[in-house]
C-alpha cells in the first residue's frame, strides 16, 4: 500500500506462458551434462528406465503441487504450502531453503551458459587470437548474462513471460527436432538398435544411481506454482500447466536420450563405456555423429536451456523472498512492489546479489549439489503438506483440482524422494554441510527478527472480547441473528457452567469468492452487534470469548472456527424449516452437522422460550449410541433448571419388557427420570406428548444408508412439527468419528 492505493501483482500469465516457464526451468542445463554420465554407468537401457521412473515420481509430486496451487494461488509456491501446513519455524526454514536453492540454481545456470558459450567460441579463430583465459571469460560472461536477466525481470511479468516463451520454444524445438530425427534415422539405420543389446550392463542397481543423478532435470515445475498470483484463471491453468509440463518434459528427455544412444559412433567400444569416457560432452559428441551440424545444434540447445532456466530461477527466487517478507518474517522492504513496474524490486535485488556473488566466488558444483538436496527435501515436505492440508482444512479450501488416489500418491513421492536425497548425500557430503550451514543462518535470522512477525490469520478472524480463564472444554455458539442469539447462548452457558467449560460466541461474516477476504471487515458491524447481544445474555459465571470469522462461506467459516479453536461442543440454531427441499435443515447446517469434528447440538427455539424457565423435559429415545450421551445432557439440563424428565419410547411392536430392559442404562443416567412406554407410531406419539413439556431433547438415530438424513427420520420430523424448544444432539465420539478425524474428511 502506497499513498493509500493498493498495488497488486499483475495477472498476465496464461496456460501457455506457465507451461513454457515450467518446461524452461525443468530442461535446464543439468540434462545435457548429467545424461552422458548416467549412460556411462547405467547403460543405454538404464537411462531410459531412469528417465521414465523419474518422470513418474516427478508427476506424483507435480500432482501435489497442482492440488495445493489450485487451492492456495498465492506467490511463494512450495514455501506457502509448507507454511500453511506446518506453520512457524518449519514454514520459515522451508522458505529460507527454497530461496537459497533457487538463487544457487540461478548461479549454476549462469555459469553453465558461460561455459557452453566459451566452448562454442573456442572453436573460432578470432576468440583464440584474443588470448583471454577461459576461466576469466566464463566468469565475466556468467555475470553479464545474470545481469541481463535481472534487468529483464525488473521490466515486468508479461515481458518476462514473452522472453521465456521464445527461449523455451527454441530449446524444446531443438530437442524435439533431434529426437524426431533419431526416429527417422533408426528407419534408415536399423542396425543402430544394436546399441541397446547390452541394456543394463552394470546391473539394475545402477539405474537407481542414474535416477538420483538425473532427478535435477525433473525439478523446476514448481516455478508455475510460484506464479499462481499472476496467472489468468489460476484454479484451472496452474494445475494443468504443472501436469502437462512434466509429461512433455519426460517425453522430450526419453527422445533425447534415445537420439544420443542411436547417434553414437563408439566403434569397437561398448556404447556405455564410450559415454563414460567422454563425460559431460558425451551428449554433444553423440548428437554430432547423429546429424550434420549436430554439435552446433546441441550447444545452442544447451545455451537456450541455461538462459531459460536462469530467467525462471531469478523470477522464482524473487517471489519466494517476497512471500517470506509479506508474511512478516523478514524485513517488509522485500515485499514492497514497484508502483510502475509492479515487481517486488527489493526482493529481486537481494536475490540478484546472491546469484552474482555465488556465480563469481564459490565452487559451483558443491553448492549446486546442496541445491539438489534442498529441492528434494522441499518437495518431500510439500507432499507431506498436501496430506496434512487436505485432512485438516480440506473442507474450508476451494480446490480447483483434487488429486486421485489420495493419499497413496504423495506417500509414494515422499518415500522415493527420501531415498534420492540420501543418495545425493553419498555423492557430496560437502553439499550437506553447506545446506546445514544455510539452515543455521536462517535460524539466526528467524530468532533475531521474531519480534516483527505479523499475527497469523490477520484477515480471517477478529476477537471482539475475551473474558475469563480459558478452559479445557470449549463450547462454541454460532450466532447469526439477534433473534436466537440469546436462546443459544443460554443453553450453551448452562452446559459450560455444569462441565466447567468456556464459551466461544462466534459469528461469520461472508463475502463472495470474487471479493478479497480482508474486505469482509467492512461488513462486520452487524455481526459484532449480534455477538455483543449474545454476550449480554450470559451471567458471567464462565469465561466468554467473542470472535468474528471472515470467510467466503458460512460453512467454511464455522468449520474453520471449530478446528482453529479445537471446539468440543458446537451449538447451532435452526428456524425449523429449510429454504431448499434438497436439504434437511439447510445447506450449511446439513454439512456442518455431518462433517463437524465435535459434538453438535442444534437448537430449534419454541414458544416456551419467552418464559425462560424449564420445568419439564421430554427425552424421546429408543436407545443407541447417541442416546446415552444425550441422556447425560438431559441430566445436566434437568439439574441446572431443577426440571422433571420424562423418557418416552414407542413400542412399535417390540416387547415392552425387553424395551424397558434395553433402555435401563439410559434412564439410569438421569436421576429421577420417569420412563413412559406408549403404543403407536413414534413421531405421532412424541408429538402428542411434547405439548406437555417445555423442552424436547432428541439424540441422533442411526442413519439408513443412501438416505438423505442428518439426525435421523424421527428426530427431524419431530423437530419440524413440535412447537416447543427442541434440542437435536449428535455425538461425535465413536470410533468412526475418530477415524474420520484422523484420516480426513469429505471435501466438497
Amino acid at each position: 500500500m502506497e499513498n493509500g492505493e493498493t498495488i497488486e501483482l499483475s495477472r498476465g500469465l496464461s496456460l501457455v506462458h506457465l507451461m513454457m516457464m515450467g518446461m524452461g526451468m525443468m530442461i535446464g542445463a543439468g540434462v545435457f551434462v548429467a545424461t552422458g554420465y548416467a549412460i556411462g554407468f547405467a547403460g543405454p537401457g538404464g537411462i531410459l528406465v531412469a528417465f521414465a521412473l523419474n518422470g513418474l515420481i516427478a508427476f506424483f509430486s507435480a500432482m501435489s503441487f497442482a492440488e495445493l496451487a489450485s487451492a492456495l494461488p498465492t506467490a511463494g509456491g512450495a514455501y506457502t504450502y509448507i507454511d500453511e501446513a506446518f506453520k512457524g519455524l518449519i514454514g520459515f526454514v522451508s522458505g529460507w531453503m527454497n530461496w537459497f536453492a533457487l538463487t544457487v540454481a540461478g548461479s549454476l545456470y549462469a555459469i553453465t551458459f558461460a561455459t557452453y558459450t566459451v566452448f562454442l567460441l573456442e572453436g573460432t579463430g578470432w576468440f583464440n587470437n584474443l588470448g583471454i583465459d577461459s576461466w576469466l571469460a566464463i566468469k565475466v560472461l556468467a555475470l553479464a548474462i545474470a545481469l541481463v536477466f535481472i534487468a529483464i525481470n525488473y521490466i515486468g511479468v508479461s515481458e518476462t513471460g514473452n522472453i521465456e516463451n521464445l527461449i523455451t520454444l527454441g530449446q524444446m524445438g531443438t530437442l524435439a527436432f533431434i529426437g524426431l530425427f533419431s526416429i527417422y534415422y533408426i528407419f534408415v539405420h536399423p542396425e543402430k538398435l544394436a546399441h541397446f543389446s547390452d541394456f543394463v550392463p552394470n546391473g539394475w542397481d545402477k539405474v537407481l544411481m542414474a535416477m538420483g543423478f538425473t532427478y535435477v532435470g525433473f525439478e523446476g515445475y514448481e516455478v508455475i506454482a510460484h506464479a499462481g498470483e499472476e496467472a489468468v484463471n489460476p484454479k484451472e491453468t496452474v494445475p494443468k500447466a504443472i501436469l502437462y509440463s512434466v509429461v512433455a518434459v519426460t517425453a522430450t528427455y526419453l527422445l533425447f536420450a534415445f537420439a544420443a544412444i542411436v547417434g553414437a559412433e563408439p566403434g569397437n567400444v561398448p556404447v556405455h563405456e564410450w559415454f563414460a569416457e567422454l563425460g559431460p560432452v558425451g551428449m554433444g559428441e553423440a548428437i554430432k555423429d547423429l546429424m550434420p551440424y549436430g554439435g552446433l545444434l546441441i550447444t545452442l540447445a544447451a545455451i537456450f536451456s541455461s538462459t531459460s532456466a536462469l530467467n525462471a530461477t531469478v523470477y522464482s527466487s524473487t517471489r519466494v523472498l517476497f512471500a517470506i517478507s509479506r508474511d512478516g518474517r523478514l524485513p517488509g522492504i522485500f515485499s514492497r512492489i514497484h508502483p510502475v513496474r509492479r515487481v517486488p524490486h527489493y526482493a529481486l535485488f537481494a536475490s540478484s546479489l546472491i546469484i552474482l556473488t555465488i556465480a563469481v566466488a564459490f565452487p559451483i558444483e558443491d553448492v549446486a549439489a546442496s541445491a539438489d538436496i534442498v529441492f528434494l527435501l522441499i518437495f518431500l515436505l510439500v507432499n507431506a503438506a498436501v496430506i496434512k492440508i487436505r485432512n485438516e482444512r480440506g473442507d474450508e479450501l476451494d480446490y480447483g483440482f483434487l488429486m486421485p488416489y489420495f493419499p497413496y500418491i504423495p506417500l509414494l513421492a515422499i518415500f522415493f524422494q527420501a531415498i534420492l536425497s540420501l543418495w545425493v548425500f553419498n555423492v557430496s557430503p560437502t553439499a550437506w554441510a553447506i545446506t546445514i550451514a544455510w539452515v543455521i543462518i536462517g535460524l539466526v535470522v528467524y530468532r533475531s527478527y521474531e519480534g516483527a512477525k505479523v499475527e497469523p490469520f490477520k484477515f480471517e478472524r477478529e476477537t471482539v472480547f475475551e473474558e475469563g480463564r480459558p478452559s479445557k472444554y470449549r463450547i462454541m455458539v454460532a450466532v447469526s441473528n439477534r433473534k436466537n442469539a440469546g436462546v443459544l447462548t443460554r443453553y450453551a452457558e448452562t452446559i459450560a457452567e455444569r462441565v466447567g467449560g468456556e464459551l466461544l460466541i462466534v459469528s461469520v461474516v461472508t463475502v463472495p469468492e470474487q471479493t478479497p477476504l480482508e474486505e469482509a471487515r467492512r461488513f462486520a458491524d452487524e455481526a459484532i452487534g449480534v455477538v455483543r447481544e449474545a454476550k449480554a445474555h450470559t451471567s458471567g459465571k464462565v469465561g466468554v470469548e467473542g470472535i468474528i470469522y471472515y470467510s467466503h462461506s458460512v460453512y467454511r467459516g464455522i468449520m474453520s472456527a471449530v478446528r482453529d479453536k479445537k471446539v468440543d461442543l458446537l451449538v447451532l440454531g435452526w428456524e425449523g424449516r429449510s429454504r431448499w427441499s434438497r436439504y434437511v435443515l439447510g445447506s450449511n447446517l446439513d454439512r456442518i452437522v455431518k462433517n463437524a469434528p465435535c459434538n453438535v447440538i442444534v437448537v430449534k427455539p419454541g414458544d416456551t422460550e419467552e418464559r425462560g424457565r424449564i420445568e419439564s423435559i421430554l427425552f424421546p429415545t429408543r436407545g443407541g449410541r447417541h442416546a446415552k450421551m444425550s441422556a447425560e445432557l438431559v441430566s445436566l439440563l434437568a439439574s441446572a433448571h431443577n426440571a422433571r424428565v420424562t423418557v418416552l419410547t414407542a413400542k412399535s411392536g417390540e416387547n415392552e419388557r425387553k424395551l424397558r430392559e434395553r433402555l435401563k442404562p439410559v434412564v439410569e443416567k438421569i436421576p429421577g427420570a420417569e420412563l413412559k412406554v406408549v403404543d403407536g407410531e413414534p413421531v405421532s406419539a412424541i408429538l402428542a406428548e411434547c405439548g406437555k413439556h417445555d423442552l424436547v431433547v432428541m439424540g441422533a438415530t442411526r442413519e439408513p444408508l443412501f438416505k438423505r438424513l442428518v439426525f435421523g427420520e424421527v428426530p427431524e420430523k419431530v423437530a419440524r412439527k413440535c412447537r416447543r424448544t427442541v434440542l437435536l444432539v449428535k455425538i461425535n465420539r465413536g470410533i468412526r468419528a475418530r477415524i474420520n478425524r484422523l484420516v480426513g474428511r469429505r471435501v466438497e
Binding site: L48, L56, A66, V247, T250, L254, F401, L402
Partner: protein, 64 residues
Amino acid sequence: MNIDQILGATIVFGAYGFMLYLLHVSNRTIAEMKRLRVERRRRYAKKRIGHVLEVQRDTRHRRR
C-alpha cells in the same frame, strides 16, 4: 529381445502410460470442478439479481 530389454521396455512404457492415465483422470477432475465453480457462481448471481429485483419492486410499491 533379452529379459532385460523386455523388463526395461515394460517399465518405460508402463511408467509413461501410468503417467498419461493419471493425467487423463486429473484433467477430468479439473473439468468437473470447473463446472461446479461456474454453477455456484451462476446461482449466486441469480440470487443477487433476485434480491435487486425484489428491492426495486418494494421501492416502487412504497412510492405508489
